[in-house]
Symmetry: D2
Subunit: 364 residues, 4 copies
Amino acid sequence: MSNKIGEKFQITSFGSSHGTAVGAVIDGCPANLELSSEDIQKELDKRKPGTSSVTTPRKEADEVQILSGIFEGKTDGTPITGVVFNKNQHSKDYSMFKDTPRPSHGDFGWMSKYGNYDYNGGGRGSGRVTIGHVIGGAVAKKLLKTHNIEIVSHVVQIGDVKARKMSFDEIKENIERNPVRCADLKAAEEMEELILAKKVDGDSVGGIVETIAVNVPAGLGEPVFERLDGDLARILMNIGAVKGVEIGLGFEVADKSGSEINDEYLIENDKVKTKTNNSGGIIGGMTNGMPIVSRIAVKPTPSISKCQSSVDISKMENKKIEIKGRHDPCICPRVTVVSESSTAIVLADHMIRSGFIHPSNLES
Amino acid sequence: MSNKIGEKFQITSFGSSHGTAVGAVIDGCPANLELSSEDIQKELDKRKPGTSSVTTPRKEADEVQILSGIFEGKTDGTPITGVVFNKNQHSKDYSMFKDTPRPSHGDFGWMSKYGNYDYNGGGRGSGRVTIGHVIGGAVAKKLLKTHNIEIVSHVVQIGDVKARKMSFDEIKENIERNPVRCADLKAAEEMEELILAKKVDGDSVGGIVETIAVNVPAGLGEPVFERLDGDLARILMNIGAVKGVEIGLGFEVADKSGSEINDEYLIENDKVKTKTNNSGGIIGGMTNGMPIVSRIAVKPTPSISKCQSSVDISKMENKKIEIKGRHDPCICPRVTVVSESSTAIVLADHMIRSGFIHPSNLES
Amino acid sequence: MSNKIGEKFQITSFGSSHGTAVGAVIDGCPANLELSSEDIQKELDKRKPGTSSVTTPRKEADEVQILSGIFEGKTDGTPITGVVFNKNQHSKDYSMFKDTPRPSHGDFGWMSKYGNYDYNGGGRGSGRVTIGHVIGGAVAKKLLKTHNIEIVSHVVQIGDVKARKMSFDEIKENIERNPVRCADLKAAEEMEELILAKKVDGDSVGGIVETIAVNVPAGLGEPVFERLDGDLARILMNIGAVKGVEIGLGFEVADKSGSEINDEYLIENDKVKTKTNNSGGIIGGMTNGMPIVSRIAVKPTPSISKCQSSVDISKMENKKIEIKGRHDPCICPRVTVVSESSTAIVLADHMIRSGFIHPSNLES
Amino acid sequence: MSNKIGEKFQITSFGSSHGTAVGAVIDGCPANLELSSEDIQKELDKRKPGTSSVTTPRKEADEVQILSGIFEGKTDGTPITGVVFNKNQHSKDYSMFKDTPRPSHGDFGWMSKYGNYDYNGGGRGSGRVTIGHVIGGAVAKKLLKTHNIEIVSHVVQIGDVKARKMSFDEIKENIERNPVRCADLKAAEEMEELILAKKVDGDSVGGIVETIAVNVPAGLGEPVFERLDGDLARILMNIGAVKGVEIGLGFEVADKSGSEINDEYLIENDKVKTKTNNSGGIIGGMTNGMPIVSRIAVKPTPSISKCQSSVDISKMENKKIEIKGRHDPCICPRVTVVSESSTAIVLADHMIRSGFIHPSNLES
């Protein structure tokens, strides 16, 4: 198994839902970045369950401890290890899932590929494993901030409820004002209602999350196989439940003409800009200095309490399954911090790779 | 710049549109695969321009030469080098593009990042560079065929014309029967008309290409950061002009419920299958043995002959640009062989990485 | 900084001498290997200081905790995280080393490259960091044992005292019978005396450590750039204090003729063997089935209590330095477990890469 | 098989002794380096056989062609492909080696690992494959020269004849004045005599080659697993025939005391230097600004015309073998350009990785 992502700014993630701990080692962060456990905790709190009407009522404290990589309040260039010890993890009996994969969950893959599957709480296939992504993303965000780069993810669709377009500043402000993390406050209310209705029904619903990164310099990414759009698509598609990734106009380009959507250039304040941003900040695999805009399609949580068909793979026979428990009826609000983190990891990595951030020492 | 993709089955691509040659080195193909230059030529011929009404009338012979890696008609485990020497490449004066980036082309990135840009015919940013992808893909396909795996890409949408669903066998057969490479022959005709209308108009149009891979065993891909869906998304997004990637239902999941789209399991002929394939053959980052289905959004060719706004980056002033020349009004038909090749490269790589294909010798 | 080694069996090491913890994440160990913390503790105990007359009298408990990767007593394919929390680490004031690099220590590099150097106890440049190597090596050894591969390192020279040749079984047995870990018991006594004399003198002494691996199948390693001898040389040279690496006859080949040292082939018990093993088990970068033999040159511990010349890099002026403290007068005995571990990591990695060990599941 | 080395400055080598061509792709060289095929040819000419009394009388023209990566006389950031087409390669019948491995050659590994071995002229196991190393090294050297870094390799021992110590400038000058590439001209004569005597005798002899790199800045290399000494040891050990690698004093450290060989610091001309350079320019895995000094042990050419024992691996029976042909009785003189090239590749890679050379554009 490979649990690492990034080339120069590299995350190695470890741990499982009901094991001793989950965490990540961040290797390649240059020295002299101010960093504390609060910087990481703040991000982890965004993904913490049990904090609103629309997420699972499970309570998890999720307190991070830094085991290495900080000296006198700053990174020292050595690997940063962040760990969250699991607590109360044996609250429930999961043995009915031992040989019976839950539909549209990763269980079947784990069972057949590795043959020794920790089925408790989904093991390392659990969403809880994104704690590692968020630890890595928190460090990446702090590093990007030294270059004024900011990233925000927000919910733009849940079921058939769509948010209208908002400015970057409105998005940053409004997502903190509702549990759905949607910037269009009216749509947010409808989304919340829809999620609660699904919850009552023992069902779940999907949605779309958009991520915007601003102040990224032109020239990140490489034009053939290590394109920035390719690397973003990979890390975003690697988030559990994601089934599609778009950059800029995305699938809308299919029925457009070149003359409608080409991003024409102009000089503005002595800088090259584009009149429109249909490309979403990336052309030819490289950034052009405009905001980077991506969207991901998030499937409805596969854990639903309705009765479903499955199989017992040890007896090789059909079987019915009901998944009781406290699941998120819609994962989109909690995915936002993961897509923010993932985007930050890719950008931090490319900022170092492209020579914008010094590889060993921020003060060089 | 990094021009390599894959971990065990690794492609290093080189060359530019108007340089001496384009090609690729394929490293990591096990020994004892029967391989000839015809295997590669056959695939290259699919992307060759000048062969139909809907592509550019430019003629390029694109004959491949194998420089290494074959002994007595079979691979010998050493790197396979395939080269296409460029011919008649100085047919035209491109100097007006030296400092003036074409809207929605990669030029601006190349100019600002590398500072010594071969602007002739788009240099290494040209679609011609996908010859390297196709050389790699041809070897990958041949290797996958030893395990009965087949891959096909077809056009499912051009502009607002959409094809209806077809079976795998119909797709394989029908795409050879029309220049658009669309399996729905009626839609294919409308697509052809639409493309020709755009061509007359000096404009271009986008579309969607779907790729299906069958007979892929369960257990390819790794569940956290080297997921098969992530690796597919990356290589597909790395194709120039692609702005979105979907697996299975893709963006349709957003307004669905879990109960509607979960893929329930059943035992069929002593094998675990799913009743539906909304996941597109990949759940939790790993294959489940069902067909792998992806779709990419392809933007309209940015090269259009209509007048557009651009800038002269050496004088830092606004400027108008008209791109004359023989461009594809719709790139989708020629993209099909590139998405097939890209998919084949990722699958071949993971077949080796997951232990399904021996890393050094097919006869081991 | 990069703190990772290996391609398929991959170690990411973290932590520093006086930080919160040191440890390693092992990624890529297949599932279904029986593994407990005792397997790791046993190896860590070999490098633990304070256990004999010839090592530092510092006491360190060095108890390992496994945070992830084990399910029901076996690996489950997920990353294995082993951590040793540091204790009593603030016993001493190291501030005199803040700006004054110790001669022939890494300090100067750390200071000038990273600019925020944890100088306490040598920070991440400390020998204590090899705890990560040993954790990784312990897992690698257990994995190799499933294929009957055994590795042993022993001291063959300290100062001018050289051990005579011994058989593999004698080496395994005898090194446990003396604190120097030398298989020639008479030489071992002289070595011990020499080390103690250097200790009294406030000085230190170098030596040579040999590592032998038996039962490695033919065909490990790749013949051009990922040769097994190259990968061994790298990991062994990466051990602090090592200034030379030899395979087989090593530097002795310089004054030999081909006719004297070529390893001629013969058939023995239906297997291809060589009459001699001057190549040390590796020819053309690949194993030939004979024992793998390497030797490393270990420099005298640079920490000596004699007065030495150094500089104050903040004031840029010359300065005298005396390094008080409890240092190993000869590091060779404790290096043995690190060279064993390093060799095991490289072999485990190549056993997976070459298809001898399944990448995900030992029971596949 | 993996045929690539380097992380940011990356060489992918291809081709075999009697195939169509040998060559290399250099990926990651920044744009705006002046480069011509003469720069490469000059280096290739140093390894060309048939040019002196002490090398094989085989004639090979070895003319390099650049297929990509240069625009208007300068690199443009895209991959540089250099190819040497093989000529007259079928001069001889090698079929007696098809199933009979030559002692201490890589043949046996190739046969057993890949199962389809191009035995003609040693196939890809031939020394001819180092043409790829030299192409890569030529580009690396040109790149390093922009930072004033120079590298020279010279022969310091053949058989029992040892050269005395010489200055860097004497070495550069004197090695061009004798076919052995030894800087001590008196020793060079004795070496030449010794080699010719071995040649007459149908035998071969080993030696030692030293490489010195000057003007390398302090701070190259990373202190744990990507140490510069480790990376140098790997690439040097990867050269066929090399059985040992030393940095600085190397194996001499074994019988020294810390007080004898520690490199004490002093300030000289406002720079930190060491009084001695026993460390060979690398301490703690990182350069300290002093010259980098390495030595490699080169075994006698295994191809000798004396009768030797081998086996027929298809019949599994013992067999005698005589290797007729025109072989180098001592490979050391021709190895010098390969060790120079290998050292240059590693240094160029680390210069980019450590932020001393911009990754995409020398003029940034």
